[in-house]
Symmetry: C2
Subunit: 341 residues, 2 copies
């Protein structure tokens, strides 16, 4: 066994060999930080019992650049991203896995920092990272670190959320201000300085979802508006359900700084990524109680009813603008913000 | 919707945007090939029922270079890799997920070919790829394609395989010839031409494991000797269980071509990766029946008893050589074969 120099050392190709050096990295960096009985058992897989119910599985690759940003880093983002994909099915997340692709030369201090951040995010959410894998690629064949997380969870009896169940007349809600994550990242990349006032909304939403399921038995579907932002998310839901959507710009929660940064950057908050918000579709009659419950939860304080589902064979998403006009909110066409998550 | 030019097109940054172009890639390439009800539902996660039993989860990143090789490609390898990690716990694999990290400029024809290969491998194994994710990184920030697969399976009642249960006196078996995958890849990279006679052993082993569990109720543990080869695998098991191991070189199944290629390349088949073989530890009295059952299965025809577990506080793996000497089989120290899986 060689002692890793976590302060000044770097990832080397031998750390991906599967041999002694791989073990050193595992034993001296990953295991002490992620510490849990499954991982400590040192098998190539984890075995566990799940509570009764239907099982949910999700996976998400993370290639965000830069790796560290106000409000989070690729480590916490990779945990929240998969937790939220599970939560959007109404699931209680139970266990996570993580696959790392490291670039030769990546500082071990940075790896340590972001694995510590993953560990903290996983601990807060109550979902241990029970199995994982590490690969190393040559310098110039990767970009620091990519992390793919997967997760399994369990859906409570009777819960059948899906994106294809929106019906005309349903209400559309968002859980809080939109665009924060995307705008923070872009401002940081362009060194615009807005990021001193705004930060990523990266957070796990499963506890908010739990509360929502209690008050809205008819809840149709949930989705987190990540890449492509709220606009893309609504278009996906409209297409899946074969409906249209009508939203009201005046009801959209957008932070003033985000609005200002968007104007400066030529962005639209509707298309800017979120990493800790959700869109909910529910029967109109359940919307007031759902809204109230969301606002009573720390992750939903700025929740709003933003519109309703319409009958539309073209599955258009339309928005009544602040000035009273109608605007079609199309799919994101280009690539507004590459590598945002 | 734009029609993808799968023959001549390339991966572009917008395919990772989450917007219209991402949908096009999903609808025109991934969905038709991987076709199954979960994926076709277009949610960000999959919901399913699992048969009763303890649940197993595994994950494996794949960065193999080159992407296509005799006997497989990164697509089939990514399916077999995770299936085998599940099978080594004695599990029946049930569902898979796949996360793709694509490099800008990667030919869509190659992507199509390797996703088709994944689909075929998944179909053969009876384990659909039910959820997934695609990210795109700039040219020069990746290397064609990396694939991280995860899987869940279920362990039959009473089965408690683990790498920490080897006991002095136990028999050590391998399911077939060793070193094929690693040597094939290295020969290909160095353009040595051996790869016309040998090929990767990449294959799913869960059906072989099923047969083994039937005949060896006392089976202690299984592990697939991938990166770092048989030598590393035995060292891991010895360390986990706090035992030593004694193997016999004359019993090791090694193909003649692999032996010749190893001599030429200065490699040791003991340290060369396998992607379709397993090591089994079982009580000595169950070994003959286990060996017979393995040899009766297409994936275990060349199985052999290669040695036994010893009492050794230093957890050494030792080998009696062909010439009768004793050699310590240490952990892989350097990086014999980078990016082998």
């Amino acid at each position: 066994m060689a002692t890793l120099d976590i302060k000044k050392g770097r990832v080397e190709m031998i750390h991906g060999s599967g041999g002694r050096a791989s073990q050193d990295l595992l034993e001296q960096l990953f295991l002490p930080l992620l510490d849990n009985p499954w991982l400590n058992q040192r098998n190539d897989q984890a075995v566990f019992d799940l509570p009764p119910g239907r099982v949910v599985m999700a996976t998400d690759g993370h290639v965000v650049s830069p790796l560290f940003f106000p409000g989070g880093d690729i480590g916490s983002l990779a945990v929240h991203g998969t937790l939220n994909d599970l939560a959007m099915a109404g699931a209680r997340p139970c266990y996570l896995s993580a696959g790392f692709i490291l670039e030769e030369g990546f500082p071990l201090a940075d790896l340590h920092r972001l694995v510590a951040s993953m560990a903290e995010a996983a601990r807060k959410a109550g979902t241990p990272i029970v199995t994982g894998d590490t690969k190393v690629v040559e310098k110039g064949k990767g970009d620091g670190v990519f992390i793919t997380t997967s997760g399994v969870g369990v859906v409570p009896e009777g819960c059948r959320l899906s994106g294809d169940q929106a019906r005309p007349g349903d209400a559309i809600l968002v859980s809080g201000s939109i665009g924060d994550h995307g705008v923070t990242l872009l401002s940081l990349r362009e060194s615009l300085g807005f990021e001193t006032e705004i930060c990523s909304d990266s957070q796990a939403l499963h506890r908010l979802v739990e509360v929502m399921l209690e008050v809205s038995p008819g809840l149709r579907g949930l989705r987190d508006p990540t890449r492509g932002g709220l606009a893309t998310c609504l278009n996906e839901l409209a297409q899946q359900s074969g409906v249209g959507m009508q939203i009201d710009e005046r009801q959209l929660p957008v932070r003033e700084t985000v609005r200002a940064a968007c104007e400066f950057l030529g962005l639209d908050p509707l298309y800017s990524a979120n990493e800790g918000k959700l869109v909910a579709i529910c029967p109109a009659k359940e919307a007031p109680a759902l809204l109230q419950a969301m606002r009573g939860h720390p992750q939903g304080e700025e929740a709003a009813i933003i519109g309703q589902v319409t009958r539309d064979p073209q599955n258009l998403v339309q928005m009544q603008t602040r000035l009273g006009g109608q605007r079609i909110i199309d799919w994101l066409q280009g690539d507004q913000l590459p590598r945002i998550c």
